[in-house]
């Protein structure tokens, strides 16, 4: 039997695809169990712990780590830092997929996904912080979808609607920043209702501020982290503009992340001082809190600062990884590890393997979608027919060798 693969055709049978397929199949089975047997059939959630891993990871971490979208588009279009233009599309795509998967994962938690629009169109709970979070996420997801649409329309060849949306970029960016400011902080505000359940070191009346500021650091770090991974795995999909601007994006975002983390660290310390919670630092929870604050906020801040000053891009990337881990740890602490801290160990929550499997399943779907979209649509490159790149000072105006990658245009190209 001839098993040779024809030249130019890649085998589908790669380790990544095999593992992804297995995860998707397991996820599909657990999805069936979740929607037929209910939460009790697949999760360890209880009346004491009604919010578990799916809220801690899929929602809180998902929203924080998707903040790169509003950070990058605000830097480029609101603050006029056009040298970050090439990072906008990957960041918007990451944010759009991140928020889509947040809503997707939320339907596992709340059940009956067809009722998701009810809080907005049927029965509005306008006095609830959760209503504000839901409304902002709902509107921001639509905004991100519209912001992402131009790359899809370029792929399909629909020029007119694409041009129409591109003209509204600034308005969409401002709308997105306003919505992000509101719901990133409101996610922290959700926990203000539980001062007796959340450990005092994590509980603070400044929780909304902490969540918002840490989301900026998370967003900036995620752009660096995601860019590094994309550089490694999708290098052939990138054009010269993206490749030449990438180092500048890493340097600039590292500088921003260093300053934001410094501010976040100082605010956390001031929060402790204002509530006079110094004594708690000497407990075991205090050691855990200090690990989060020193190991995953102060240390990456310090590493970012050294890396920016010494122009060490590799160190910037490691600091970004540490920051992302730190934000994940913080969200886990607030919603899980330090939540219900006074309960007996037997009553504490630990997720079932099926909850973990669904979270892995959601992340895998995100990675597959990101790979598909960035392979076929102009995410890491500008389609020459729609080129808008503004050359920097000292940069050549025209670059005839601009297109070096393969354009995977949609087979059924419309327009033109």
């Amino acid at each position: 039997m001839n098993t040779d693969i024809p030249a130019g055709k890649k085998s589908w049978f790669t380790p990544f695809n095999v593992v992804a397929t297995i995860i998707i199949l397991i996820g599909a089975v657990i999805t069936f169990l979740r929607f037929t047997k209910g939460l009790g059939g697949v999760t360890n959630l209880s009346d004491n712990n009604p919010w578990g891993l799916w809220i801690a990871f899929d929602l809180l971490c998902g929203v924080a780590l998707a903040a790169g979208g509003y950070c990058t588009s605000a830097a480029c279009y609101v603050f006029g830092l056009k040298r970050y233009h090439s990072a906008v599309r990957p960041a918007i795509l990451t944010a759009f997929l991140g928020y889509s998967l947040v809503v997707f994962a939320l339907s596992y938690d709340v059940g009956r996904p067809w009722r998701l629009p009810y809080p907005f169109f049927v029965q509005q709970g306008t006095t609830s912080v959760l209503f504000e979070v839901g409304l902002c996420v709902f509107l921001y997801l639509i905004t991100l979808f519209v912001e992402w649409l131009p790359s899809c329309l370029e792929w399909l060849g629909f020029r007119k609607p694409r041009d129409l949306i591109v003209r509204a970029t600034l308005a969409l960016t401002i709308f997105g920043v306003v919505l992000s400011t509101m719901h990133q902080s409101s996610l922290g505000a959700l926990y203000l209702i539980a001062p007796s359940k959340l450990h005092p070191l994590w509980y603070s009346s400044y929780l909304p501020l902490f969540f918002f500021i840490s989301s900026i650091a998370a967003g900036l770090s995620m752009v660096i982290f995601e860019g590094t991974l994309s550089h490694y795995y999708m290098h052939d999909k990138m054009d010269k503009t993206y490749l030449s601007e990438h180092d500048s994006v890493v340097r600039g975002f590292s500088k921003g992340a260093a300053l934001v983390l410094a501010g976040y660290f100082l605010l956390k310390v001031i929060g402790i001082a204002l509530d006079d919670k110094w004594d708690y630092l000497l407990t075991s929870y205090g050691a855990w809190f200090l690990l989060e604050l020193l190991g995953f906020v102060a240390l990456p801040c310090f590493l970012f600062a050294i890396a920016v000053r010494e122009q060490k891009l590799k160190l910037c990337r490691w600091a970004a990884v540490l920051t992302v881990l730190g934000i994940v740890l913080n969200r886990f602490n607030v919603s899980w590890f330090a939540f219900n801290w006074q309960l007996a160990p037997a009553d504490r929550y630990f997720p079932s393997w099926m909850e973990i499997a669904i979270s892995v399943y959601v992340v895998t779907i995100g990675v597959l979608l990101f790979r598909f979209i960035s392979t076929y649509m102009p995410i890491f490159y500008e389609d020459p027919q729609y080129r808008e790149h503004v050359p920097h000072e000292g940069e050549e105006e025209e670059r005839p060798e601009f297109v070096e990658h393969k354009l995977h245009r949609h087979p059924q190209t419309f327009g033109h």
Partner: protein, 47 residues
């Protein structure tokens, strides 16, 4: 065991006092941090 109680005066002097001192240190610290990380930036104004 002796009963300890805190007065408004204690709160204003110690708790708030410490927070205000930390705020002042933070502002100065952030300024120094900014100067540190931008110390080797190219000056874009003077050519």
């Amino acid at each position: 065991m002796e009963n300890q109680f805190y007065t408004l005066h204690d709160f204003l002097v110690y708790t708030k006092g410490a927070a205000y001192l930390l705020m002042a240190v933070s502002v100065l610290g952030l300024l120094g941090f900014w100067l540190y990380i931008t110390g080797r930036d190219e000056d874009t104004f003077i050519k």
